[in-house]
Structures are given as structure tokens and as C-alpha cells.
Amino acid sequence: MLNNLCFNKNVFNEVINNSGVRPPYNKVFNWAEALPKNIILKKQIQAENLFKKIGVTFSVYNNYDVSERLIPFDMFPRILTSLEWMKIQKGIKQRSIAINAFLTDVYHKAEIIKANLIPGKLIYKNPAYDIKMVGFNVPKNIYSPIIGTDIVRTDEKDFKVLEDNCRTPSGVSYMIENREIMMRMFPDLFESLNIESVDNYPSHLVDILKSLAPKKCNKDPNIVILTPGHLNSAYYEHSFLADLMGVELVQGTDLFVKDNITYMKTTQGPQRVDIIYRRIDDDYLDPLYYKSDSLLGVPGIINSYKTGNVNICSAPGAGLADDKAIYTFMPEIIKFYLGEEPILKNIKTWRCYNKTNLKYVISNLKNLVVKEVHGSGGYGMLIGSQASKKELKKFEKKVLNSPESFIAQPILELSTVPIFDKSKLSERHVDLRPFSLVGHKKFKLVSGALTRVALKKNSLIVNSSQGGGVKDTWVLSD
């Protein structure tokens, strides 16, 4: 059995290594090994039915149609010790504070550019940089209060940051629902292990948002979540959060602006809105400022924002900080604003706009992952080792045409955790996305995260839009 589970010696297997089962997994591994085949299959069906019944789905688009899909859920949990978690927590806190300091700086004095630490053109020519935000003071200088940090593990000690998501990171509903379903299906596991709970995330989110009330709000702020609508891939999450936070879930058409004040339309007439947790992209926020044909947004909302009548979280232009070109500078950003060494390391990255880097990337294409700087969700990405010669050639051309649009990273051997493949355990690559919250003099991170898992053997792509699944993620308390 152990041999089956450890097929690649270069990969860090989180459950089993040369000396046997790693301690945090002792109980769970024995439990999983002892589960009879028929129970495994039965529980898998039960889990799927629960997800279906609750309606935890995401939408997938192709050219013709939108279809609802269940995200595949695997019952073997991912486990982190409290010590491991402490490091992750410190690292994320440091990063989140640095990100907000960086955004405040680039939209004001731009000291970091003056100090020649980041080339100005990377910022000023970046599509995520919003010139309209220059000089505007966002409430409490928090541009990005809700951050999802993609972390990968490559060995016993090291957790590295793969990506920061500063705009509208999704997946937090899965973190909570996965736990809910595991607790329903295997209550005895939770009795025998001390697992930190994750269900206070929504109330933390309310707290954090409330600390970011706009200037002209002098009562308990009215918070809403702004969704593009029920066809959006993350709609379930939007309604889930609104429900647990006890706030209204609104669409653009539910809001209007009059005399720079934002209202929502209710059965009892207009009601003032103070804080908008928006889950729509910058471009669609306000047809008067951005895409004029957008039906998702609210005309006049940016004026309402700029006159201090409403806060929009995250701030327009905050996406600059999770751009992959900026990512490569994150160690410098942390040092510059906090005077500290980064606790969580970046992954070695080649910036293709740099000539020597570009040369290296082109001649080593088949050993690298090449990513589009502004892409996300696993789209527009090349994994050299898995690409055909034709694809490599095609990508080489793309990179040479517009080097500043690409970065390259080594092909990471992501750590593995087993899944139940039919009824047998089999190892698969995973990543980790904790969700942190930054408010006015507040930082919150629930002890849990979303573990995404590639369901295909040896695959490194964990994105749900590309067939990845999820696991419940446990942080053990001491």
C-alpha cells in the first residue's frame, strides 16, 4: 500500500515519507485504510448528493451555453499542524499589509518607483493600474481587504507563494461547505482530533468591512454584496456569503445613485448603502467611468465613492498588486515598506521583458511554466514538459512578440496528498488557498483554507475550471 502511494521520489508527499506516515496524518491515514470499499463508494455518493442538494455549484461557460457543475470533492482531508499554520499566518499577514502599503504608495507619491525598486512602466502601463484613483484617499488606506493567497509546498519546511489574489478571490464558500459536509459524514473524526473551526469567516468579514466605512457614514454601515448575477461562475458563493453575513445580495440594477448617494431599491423605497463588497470586475463597476456598455454596474457609483458616500471593496485599481509582473517584486515590496525579510518566499521567476531572462526562457521552454502576466484561472499558460513541439513553437512566438506580457517559473513539483480514486488511495498534487482579511488596524485569518487538488494523475493543474477538485483542509490545534 505504502509503495502505491509514493510513486515519485522527487515530490514531497505530505502523508508518507521514507520513515512512514507523517505524524499529523497518523489517525486519518489509519482511518482511511480501514474504510471498507463499499463504505467509501457510498460516502462519495452521499457527499455528491449533499453538494447537489445544497446547490453548491459553479457555472462553466463555453461558446454556446452555461452549465452548472459540481466541484469534485475528495474525502481525504489535507492536514496542517499548528506550527506550520503559524508560519503561513505570519507570512500572509506580512504580505497583506505590504500589498496595501504598496497600493497606497503607487496611487500617491510612488516612492517605490522613485527609489528605483520597480520600473515605472510596469506600473503606469499596467492595464490594472487605474489612473482615476491617483490621489484619492481610500477609507483607512485599505485597497484590498479580502485576499486569497495561493501557496504551494515543495518540501517539509517550505511554503511558497504562487500568486496573490487581491481583487475578488473566490473559493471561501468551498472552505466552509467542505467542512460542513465532512462533519456531517464523519463526525467521529472530529471528536478524536482537535481541528480548528472555519465557520467564523463570514462574521470576521462583516467586522473587517465595518471598519472600512466611508467618510460620510456616521451610523452602523449598511453593507451589501454586489454580484454580476446568477449566471456568474461564483454566484453560489456570493449568495452563500450574503446569507451568512446577514446582508443583501444585490445586482447592479438593484442600486442607483442620486446626488452622489448610493441607494438600493427596496419594497419600502430607497435605502442608503454604505459599503459594497463587490464581486464584479473594475471594468464593469460604472458605465460612466469604465465600459460604457456594461449592464452589470451602477451609473454614478464612482462619483458616490469619490465623494466619500460609499466604500467599494476592493478598491478600483487594487488588482495591480496581484498582477504577475508585480508579483515578482513582492520581496522588494515587503522589504521597502516593512523593512522585513519575506516570511513566505516567492517562486523563482523570470521576467521576460528582461533580455537575459528572455533568452534563458526561450532556450529552456520545455522545462518551464510560462504564464501570461494578466491571465488567471489556468488560462493562457504553458507547461513546457507537457506541451507538444508544435505548441512549444507557437508559444515561443507569442513570447517573443510581446515579452513584457509573460513570466516564466520552474515546473514546480507541488506536494501531494492522496485522494480516493474509486475506492483506492492514490497520490495527487495539491495547492493551498487561505483567505485573509485586512481592515482598519485589524487582520483576520481563519485557521483553514481551500485545498485544490488535481484529479488527474501527475497533473499539476488544480483549477476548478480545468477539472480540479477540492478537499477539506484541517489546521490542528495544539
Binding site: K52, K53, I54, G55, G229, H230, Y235, S239, A242, D243, E248, L249, V250, Q251, T253, D254, F256, M264, K265, T266, T267, Q268, G269, P270
Partner: protein, 316 residues
Amino acid sequence: MLSRTAENLYWTARYLERADSIARLLEVAYRISLIPNTQEGYNNEWESILATSGTKEDYLSSYKEIKKDKIEYFLIFDDRNSSSIKNCINKARENIKMVRTGVTLEVWNAVNSFFHSFEELIKRKYYSKDLPEIIDLVKRNVNLIKGTIINTQLLNDGFDFLILGNYFERADFTARIIDVKYFILLPSTSLIGKQVDNFQWSLMLRSVSSYRAFKWAYGNSEIDYIKIIDFLILNDKCPRSLYFSVEKINFHFNRLKKNYKQAGSISPKIENLFKKLRKLSVNDILEEGLHDFLINFIEDIADVYQDLERKYFIGT
């Protein structure tokens, strides 16, 4: 509550009631198809079902002839029919999906499970012999959802909008059923008291699920048109009567007004309609003309809906 939420709740209930009504119509048609030697009556019946559901023109533009299994398919599954049961269920779920936070988990689960069990039917090829099973599934699920609403929802404004959607649809639908059949309700010298009358009348009662109820209300006396008109329009105990729907709509309008502490009338029209029906007798209706009475009623209900929309669904 968001205006859109109110509107979504209203339409959720309205589409569910419509799916239920179509299922009941099909049930009646199915009964007829089991009775021999009624070829002419058979065609009439299927045509009138299309007329009642307001889909006759749509049907004829897609299919050439009145044919039982085609009509069944058209009313249950056809995408081209905006009121097919499938479309009603899809729209009901779409509406409730947009207001998931406005209903209890139990209500959402009930609607969602209905949607998924119906999806299973869609995947199969349709055979006429499956009709009773499908009708049963629809009726059972709609009743389950309504029961879940009553048992689990907080009796707040959202509840009012759900109930309003239900009774607006029912008022409209019952009026249409009676209107399509109004000629058989009126005494005609040649047919009075004949078997066919009795049969047609009993079918009509069945189509609004009130055959037994009628017997309870009027004992085992002969079915006659006076009693049926009284039962389906004026009876205050028959949950399918026009009076009953109007009373409910009026009641929930008043509840909304009271809970929202709003002054003035939301809809003078519904108040007048309610007062009028309370005093009306079958003879008054016959004097106005049954058909004219029903057409006026349908228009009045549409106007009352406008009042509701203006007051609560616009929101500015």
C-alpha cells in the same frame, strides 16, 4: 427587502402554481383518453386544454395537427412553449436561485430537488404511458414546496410575496378554465340533463382538483351548473374559487401595508373586487353574462398586478 427579491419570490411561486395547473389539465385529458368512443369530444378536449393554457397558437405554429402525444410533449417538455412544465420549473428555480437568501434552506432544497428530479425525466425519451407518473411527480413536488413554505418560512414580507404569486396565478388560471368551458356550463335546451353534461362538468371539477371537494360541499345532489358556478367562483371554502384567490390577495396586500406601516390603499381595485364578489350571486353573474364576467375578472386581476408592481417591484 430588495424590490427584486420581492419580485423573484412572487414569480417563483407563480411559476410553480402554473406547473401544477398544467399537470392537472393533463390529468383530465388523460382521463378522457381512457374513455372509449369520444373521438369528437376527444379532439375538443385536447384543443381546449391548449386554449386554457394559452398556448394553442404556439402549438399550431410548431405542430400541424391536434395529436394527443404531441400535445402532451408540448405541454410538458417543449422549450418552444414558454409555459411548458419544464420551462415553468426552470423559471421557478432561476427566480429562487436569485433570492436564495430570502427563503429557508428547506424551501430552497425542495425547489432544487424538484428541478433535479425533473431533469431526470428530461433525459429519458418520453412515452405517453409515463404521463401519470410525471403528473404525479409534479403535483407531489409542488405540494411539498408549498407545504415547506408554510411550515418553515418566517411569516414576513417575503412570505406575502410568495403567497401573492400563488394566488395571482390561480385566480387567472381558474378564470381561464371556466371561460374556455363556459358554454358547457350554460343551460342549452337540447343537452340539459344529458349524460354528456354531467361528464363534462365532472371533468371541469377534476381539472381544478375539486371533484371530491364539490361532493363534500354540496352533498350527493345532482351536479348542475348553478352549483358549479357557485363553487368555482363564489364559494369561500373552495381553495380554487375566484373568491378565495381574491380574498387571499386582498389579505396579503393589507398585511404588507400594515407591516410596512404604509398609508393609503395599495390597490383600490382589489378592495372593490373583494367587496363585489362577497355580495354577488350566481344569478348576478348570469345576468352580466358568464363570459363577460370572466373576461372582466381577468382584466381586473391584471390591473391589480400593475398596482403591486408599481408599489413594490419598482423600488425607487
